[in-house]
Each structure stands twice: as C-alpha cells, then as structure tokens.
C-alpha cells in the first residue's frame, strides 16, 4: 500500500488547478435543463475540450490525455473544488464512451468520441419505457431491419437531457418474437431523425430535464449498431456498471457539498438544535468513507480487477449519502429552505436544487431496491 501521489500526479493537480482558476466562469451558469443553460454548458464543454481537459482518462487520439484513473480522480477533485459547471455531456462521457471503447468498431470510435469530447454532440440515454422501468427486460420498442437500415418504432421515456441533446443511445428489440433479455440491441440514433418526436417532461424543479421519445418508423443505418446484434443486454449491463459505479459519481462532488454544508452549519449554528451538528459530521464522515472506498476500487481496477456487482453497493451508498446530506441542509435552512432565489434565499436556492436532485439518486440508474436485490442475490447468494 502506498497512498502518496507521485510527483507527476502532484504536478498534474497544480496544472489543472491553475487552468481552472483561469477558466471557470465567475457567474454560475443557468441549469442545463433550460435551453439557454444547455447552450452555456455546451460552450463550457468546448472550453474544456480546447485544452484537452474534458476527458483526461481517454486515449489521446479521441480527445483525452491517456491518463490513469487516479489522475481522473485528481481532476475531479480539482474540478469540484473550483466549483466548475456540471457536465452536460455526462451521459455520453461517463456512460456511452466506456461502452464505445469496449464494444465499438474503430470507425465508431473515430466517428463518435471526438465530437462527444468537444461538446459538439451531446448524448441522452433511451432505455426506459413506460412499461419497462425497473423491469428493463420488458422493452418493447422494435427495430426491424430493412436493407442497410433499422426501422425503429416505439416509445422511450425518462431520457435525461434529450430535450436539447443531439443523439441518443437506445436499447431496442431487434429480434422478432424474442422476449426478456434476449434479442435486444443497442443502437445510436440522431435525435433530429425523421419520425422521432420529443415531448419534454418537467422535472421536480419545473425544468424539462427529461423527454419522452416517440419513434415512428425512424430509419437508422445499420452501422449505428453498437456491439453485437441481439446482444444488447450485455452491452447495456456494462453501461449500467459504469452508471452505478465509478465514473458517474466521483467522491469530489459529495466532498465539496459536505464542505459547503459545514459552512452553512457554522453560519447558523446558534439557531440549531443540538442534534444537527452530528448530522453534519455524519455527512462529512460519509463523504470521506466514499472517497477512501473509491481510491481503493480504482487501485484494484488499475491492477486489472473488473467491477461487477460492487457497483450496486456504490450506487446505494452515494445516493443515500447525498439525500441525507441535502436533507440536513434543508433542516438547517428552516423557513428559508423553500426560497428558490432572490430576497432571503440562501445561495440562490442551490441547496434546494441539490435536495431535489438527491431525491432522484435512489431512483435513476436502477432503483435502490433493484440494487439491493442484485447485492442480495449475486453477492450474498440469497435465493431468487
């Protein structure tokens, strides 16, 4: 065990810290679930990409720096420390990109990764359906082969960012008559395709962070198939592993929130009941635990270990930690907790936004109940 950063890693930290302090927008951007905010965030992705900071752990040829995952953690730490904007490209860079790198053809890598890195193409996920939520194998949206095209018909929902995004990665039924986990495929679809209609869905904060997608004989070239035809479940599960596990939620995001929570507590301490301090401490301790666990997981991955069901424990831990942390902030703010912005609001409603978003954590990427089933059955070995 060696928990010292190398001199290269220390220099890297200095370098990104210096760059961020010169480039992070002074004024917070609008939510990327608004049209204006989406374009502001897309521009920020361009700024990051221009100096190759968007995806430090990607290979250089696709717009990364070819660095290891420890460097990625360092990047994330400095990124959240600087309070830089949230990543509007996260569905692409955290979920789709690792899958393309694992399953994509050379042509697909060259075609899709650079514009994803530069913010020119922002991605949305199109997996869930009205009848296929936790039971994702109940997917009914069909893709029928017609020469060198698929013709997709059906309906997807809960597609985050899809209102303003450019592409989606869809999980659809390609094999006629197939059922459950068999006969599915992953297909990359431009969101401006003919026959594809997007219906924005207002989220808890009122902004259209989701879309429902209606596919009415949407034609997509066969070369947009990602991974084996009819083998989409396996491809999707590799994405789900990234989503629940490592890449979507690094510890820095939560550690930064915990540090802000301590400040909030100190600013209002004299109004608070005695139990609140312990909740603040618990939030801080939990984010440190998450950090230690993540470095350990990354160390094992760097030595060749693969992540499987552990990602379910990861998702349970960060999502419940995040909700508890933000609920504590809501409690501390008392009567001001409901204020979105303007007069008397605290931090322009940032805690309120955070609390609302934290309520989604235990639901998206597979509900926490599904994660508990996975852990109980696949790790602990309890009967189905």
């Amino acid at each position: 065990m060696n928990i010292e950063f190398t001199s290269n890693q220390k220099e890297f930290r200095e370098e990104i810290r210096t760059w961020l302090s010169a480039h992070v927008p002074k004024k917070r951007l609008r939510s990327f679930d608004t049209a204006e905010g989406f374009e502001q965030h897309r521009n920020w992705e361009r700024v990051l990409a221009k100096d190759n900071w968007g995806n430090v752990n990607w290979p250089e040829e696709y717009g990364g720096r070819g660095l290891d995952l420890i460097s990625w953690l360092i990047f994330e730490e400095e990124y959240y420390r600087s309070d830089a904007p949230l990543r509007v490209s996260q569905n692409g860079i955290s979920l789709l990109a690792p899958t393309i790198m694992e399953y994509g053809t050379e042509e697909q890598k060259t075609r899709f990764l650079p514009p994803m890195a530069s913010g020119e193409e922002i991605w949305a996920q199109a997996w869930s359906e009205p009848g296929a939520g936790s039971d994702m194998a109940a997917i009914r949206t069909k893709a029928v082969k017609d020469g060198d095209h698929y013709i997709i018909t059906g309906q997807k929902t809960w597609s985050s960012r899809a209102v303003f995004a450019d592409w989606c990665f869809a999980l659809v039924r390609t094999e006629d008559g197939s059922s459950r986990h068999k006969g599915l495929s992953k297909i990359l679809v431009p969101l401006n395709s003919n026959g594809l209609t997007r219906r924005p869905i207002a989220q808890l904060d009122g902004d259209p962070g989701f879309a429902e997608l209606f596919f009415d004989e949407v034609r997509v070239p066969v070369k947009n198939l990602l991974g084996p035809e009819h083998g989409g479940w396996g491809v999707a599960m590799s994405t789900a592993g990234f989503e629940r596990g490592l890449l979507l939620r690094s510890p820095a995001r939560f550690q930064s929130a915990a540090a802000r929570l301590v400040k909030l507590y100190k600013s209002r301490e004299k109004y608070l009941s005695s139990g609140i301090g312990e909740k603040v401490i618990q939030a801080w301790v939990d984010t440190e635990r998450f950090c230690a666990a993540t470095y350990q997981l990354v160390s094992r991955v760097e030595k060749g270990a693969s992540i499987s069901s552990e990602s379910s424990a990861n998702k349970l831990f960060w999502s419940e930690m995040d909700r508890q942390l933000h609920r504590t902030a809501m409690t501390i703010m008392g009567a001001q907790a409901e204020l979105e912005e303007g007069l008397d609001s605290i931090d322009n409603g940032r805690w309120l936004d955070g609390y609302m978003f934290s309520l989604a954590g235990p639901i998206y990427a597979g509900t926490n109940e599904i994660q508990r089933n996975i852990l109980a059955e696949r790790v602990l070995g309890l009967p189905r």
Partner: protein, 298 residues
C-alpha cells in the same frame, strides 16, 4: 498511489484467516461457553510467527505495517477469536522496545490506556469484572495508565477492524440461516424484506473497510471516522442479524449471540462512539481544518 495490498501481503492475510477460521471453530467457542477447558492457541501463534507481524525484522518479526495488522484483526473478528492475540500482536508488540519475549510467547502483556478500563485476565492484574460476552474473561485495571497516543491509535484501528470482521460474519451466518429457514413454503431469504436488510449491512461494511485502512496508514482524523463508522456498521449488522434469525437469534441455540456480544464489547473499547465523535466534532465543526475534495489523501 496504490491503495491495495500486494500479493504477498494478501497471501499472509489469507493464511491468517484460514488459521483463525480453522482453529477457532463454533465447537471451540461453545466449549469455552460451557466452561470446558480448551487448547490455548498461543503456541501456534508463536510457531506461525503471527505475534511478530508488526515487530521489526531485526527483532525476529515481519516488519509489517498497521494496515496489514488491521486486515488480520478483521479476520480474527470474523472468526470470533476470544484469545487476546490482536492486543498483543497489534499493540503491545509494536510499542515494545524489546518484543522478543512477547513474540516467543513467554510473556503476555497489555498496554494500559485511559481508553480501556477492562483487559483480558491473562494480560495483567486487576479485579475480575463480568462481561455479557461469555468468551471474555476480564479484569478491571488498577493503577496508572501508560499514556500512549500510539496505543490508542492502534487500539482504535484494530478494534474497528475486528468490528467489521464481526459484521461480515453476522451477515454470513444470517444468509446461511435465511437460506435454510422456510416459512410460507419458501426460504425466508427469498423475501425482499430479508434481502434488503442484509444488502444494507453489506453496503455499510464495504464502505467502512477502506476508511479503516486509510486510518491505519495515515492516522489523524481518519482514526476517529473509522471507529465511529465501524461502531455504527457493527451495531446495525448485529441488530439486522438478530432480526433475520427471529426468535432463534434471541437464544443460546444459535451462535449469533457470540458475535453480537463481542460487538457490544468492542464498541466501547479503545474509545467509544462519544469519544471519537467529539474528536471529529472538534476537527470539522470547531477547527479550521481543510475540508472538501483533494484533502483526504494529501
């Protein structure tokens, strides 16, 4: 930066685990509970060199760091080992200037601390006290304590590590019970209510072990975070385990109580929850510590 064990270290941990599990069986512990005489494991600790894991190589030890000892302590906790091996090998030996007698087994000693009121009767003199843990034979320490920050540090880390081992064991025996016990014509482990309880405990264990290892390597505030997290995890594991076992868990008919009672004991040893929580409070809420990303490993 490589926050994981080497293959050699992992082999040593696995060997210690196999030894504890192989020797400290349910049968051995049940015999002790019944007051029957059992073989001391001390000659084998000596023979295997386990008492010298942390001693310098020049003193005949293995020169291993506290983080490795913590993994061995987790294994000892898992087996329910009642012998005060972790005390001697993980605290007395590394604090001793000349540990040869301890390593060779000719002496057994505890380091006294204000954070520990009761010690194993083999490790020092004092008046007998009665623990609810039928495997702990304790005396109340009299006389002055050797004020030792290092002992407190090792003690907190190693008690936390044992708590995690105990937690994992309670999950495992609960899983076994839930697969075996049938109600409504099904194993109770097939019900989500049971599954979700146990998955929650598993998750807490997985997110406590790394902070214990960080505490072992880096010390400082992590030690307090580690002990508090281990206490909370182990109490949750114990309460979940008894719930999964139902009425059987409330008896001497199953072995769960042995592990549960050890948890109660270790939660208060080497600094209880209040002690460690106050230390974190001083650091986080009252101090001007650097918080936020980038400070955990720096």
């Amino acid at each position: 930066m490589d926050f994981s064990f080497t293959t050699d270290q992992q082999d040593l941990i696995d060997a210690a685990k196999d030894f504890f599990d192989g020797e400290n069986t349910f049968e051995r512990m049940r015999s002790i509970v019944k007051g029957q005489k059992v073989e001391s494991l001390w000659p084998q600790f000596v023979e295997l060199g386990l008492l010298g894991v942390m001693a310098h190589e020049k003193d005949g030890g293995m020169g291993q760091p506290l983080v490795l000892m913590a993994a061995i302590a987790e294994a000892a906790g898992y087996s329910g080992l009642p012998d005060p091996f972790i005390e001697v090998a993980g605290i007395t030996v590394p604090l001793s200037a000349s540990p040869e007698k301890l390593i060779s087994g000719s002496s057994q000693l505890a380091v006294l601390s204000e954070l520990r009121k009761y010690i194993d009767h083999n490790l020092g003199d004092g008046t007998a006290v009665k623990s609810i843990d039928p495997l702990r034979n304790l005396v109340k320490v009299e006389g002055t304590c050797d004020q030792s920050d290092k002992a407190n540090y090792h003690g907190a880390v190693l008690s936390a590590a044992q708590l995690i081992g105990l937690s994992q064991r309670m999950v495992d025996i609960s899983v076994d019970y839930a697969k075996d016990r049938h109600q409504f014509s099904k194993p109770i482990g097939s019900f989500q209510a049971i599954k979700h309880h146990l998955a929650n405990v598993y998750t807490q264990i997985e997110f406590t072990r790394p902070i214990i290892q960080l505490a072992a390597i880096k010390g400082g505030i992590n030690v307090h975070s580690a002990k508090v997290s281990a206490i909370d995890t182990a109490m949750m594991a114990a309460e979940t385990a008894i719930q999964v076992h139902g009425g059987m868990g409330y008896t001497y008919e199953v072995d769960l109580h042995l592990f549960m009672k050890r948890v109660w004991a270790l939660c208060g040893e080497w600094g209880d929850r209040n002690y460690h929580m106050k230390k974190i409070e001083e650091y986080v809420l009252q101090g001007d510590a650097k918080l936020g990303p980038g400070n955990t490993f720096n």
